[in-house]
């Protein structure tokens, strides 16, 4: 039996919209659920007090510090490497086997699951190089993990800077390096920053790679070699071992709020960047 195309169109339309509606509803549900359960636990004390009794009581201050330090460490390592690679790929070389190999490598890195990074970081940094479970090992592992994101977004941003900018700069007698640092990079900055913020979001939410490299000590970290627990690891341990549900919800709410904020910021910057060049 053939269905009238118009009727078919109507049916399909309803089905497709229903599926989309469910998808969007699930997202809203997850966010609303976590926030509704978690926000009551929040407060100044929750953010600024250290956990007591393995997290049963107290706040999450040391894990907030751990998250910030680890993420900052990862960025300090990944930004120079990533932006440097992007500059090299776009400005200092031409398409050929070498760039293809570098790009392929970056693409592969991007697809590798975080547990493999965790395993790698554990073997190399924690056991072979004897950094132990430490902020240093964790930051290095996270840096490798976010490197592809930074390379790709920076490359796109640098590529979208109009060629005229470069030619004018050269015609004024500046060298390649001067052109890159004073003309190309400033114009590409919002794009580069977008990549960096995306990486921050990924680092904050990461659990598998961090738990094997940075450990899960609850103390406030004192040096690069002290083990530290991030918010997502803390949340995982609280929820999995059933230590304290209110605190788990609270930690999850802080995580979600942080990530929503980061996403909104990225979105704003990206729109500004797009407007500027189109």
């Amino acid at each position: 039996m053939r269905i009238n195309p118009r009727t078919e169109q109507k049916i399909v339309r309803v089905v497709l919209w229903a599926l989309t509606g469910i998808t969007v509803a699930i997202l809203f549900f997850i966010i609303a659920f976590i926030l509704r359960k978690g926000v009551p636990a929040l407060g100044w004390d929750f953010l600024t007090k250290n956990p007591v009794d393995m997290g049963k009581g107290g706040g999450i201050f040391s894990t907030v510090v751990g998250t910030i330090v680890l993420t900052a460490g990862a960025l300090v390592i990944a930004i120079p490497l990533g932006v440097g690679t992007a500059i090299y790929l776009t400005e200092y070389t031409w398409e050929g086997p070498v760039t293809r190999v570098i790009r392929f490598g970056a693409e592969c890195l991007a697809g590798i699951p975080s547990i493999i990074f965790g395993l790698f970081g554990f073997i190399l940094f924690v056991t072979k190089l004897k950094f132990g479970w430490s902020i240093l090992s964790g930051s290095l592992t996270l840096a490798f993990m976010v490197l592809p994101t930074i390379i790709r977004t920076s490359e796109e941003a640098i590529k979208s800077v109009p060629l005229v900018y470069r030619t004018v700069s050269f015609s004024l007698g500046s060298t390649k390096w001067q052109t890159v640092t004073r003309v190309v990079l400033p114009s590409a900055l919002p794009g580069v920053v977008t990549g960096v913020i995306l990486s921050v979001g990924r680092s904050i939410g990461e659990t598998a790679a961090v738990i094997f490299t940075a450990g899960s000590a609850l103390r406030l970290p004192t040096s690069l070699f002290s083990s530290s627990r991030t918010m997502s690891v803390h949340f995982y341990i609280l929820a999995r071992e059933g230590i304290s549900m209110p605190n788990a919800y609270g930690t999850a709410a802080v995580l979600i709020i942080a990530i929503l904020g980061i996403n909104l910021l990225t979105y704003y910057l990206m729109n500004r960047f797009i407007k500027k060049y189109s």
Binding site: C108, G111, G201, F235
Partner: protein
Amino acid sequence: MFKYGLKSFLAGREWYPSEKLFGLWPMIVGSLYVTLGAMGLGVPFGLACAIVLTEFSSKRVRSVIKPVIELLAGIPSVVYGFMGVIILVPFIRETLGGPGLSVLAASIILGIMILPTIISISVDSLQAIPPSYREGSIALGATKWQTVKMVLLPAARSGIIASIILGMGRAIGETMAVIMIAGNAASVPHSILDPVRTLTSNIALEMGYAAGEHRQALFATGVILFIIIMILNTVANVTASRMKGTKR
């Protein structure tokens, strides 16, 4: 890994590290089941969203829904796992029986987690189709759905396939969410309500205390996972670059 022979390592059904039995088969099957389940859920929903966003919605709706879906990608995987434990697992336990921690629960949560990947890449490839394709089809009297079904989906095929493969990679590689909801029993599941352990959770669960040969077996698990992911990525890259080739 090679000490016990590749075959017994890959196809062995017993995983008892304390007795030096390292058979990965249950984990490989577990990863496969969970991933297939996630695809069964994620692909129809993801494609429907992508089609609605590009073809059946106004610009304003799109400008609201698309960022919202991209937010899904940012939520940490532990939060998804937690939602699974709190809501989905008890629900399955009560309505369908079994322990609740199961292939089904893991598939549903992973299906939700891979939606953003599938949606955003499919939307990009649908939008990359030249408008003349749509205009031509509509001018021939086709309805919008006929256009989508017969013109747009085939034209965007390689991009959509790439998005599905990348989603698969994400589902196989996911660790924390799966540990929390899949039950982690190292045996081949007999129904979708049985608990299951995946390759990733095998590494994460035992890494903390493994030593000697046990640890090497876990590294070998990582190697196998790595190989699977590399194959998937290469396939995705090849299909995606073929898409670029046809556009020109």
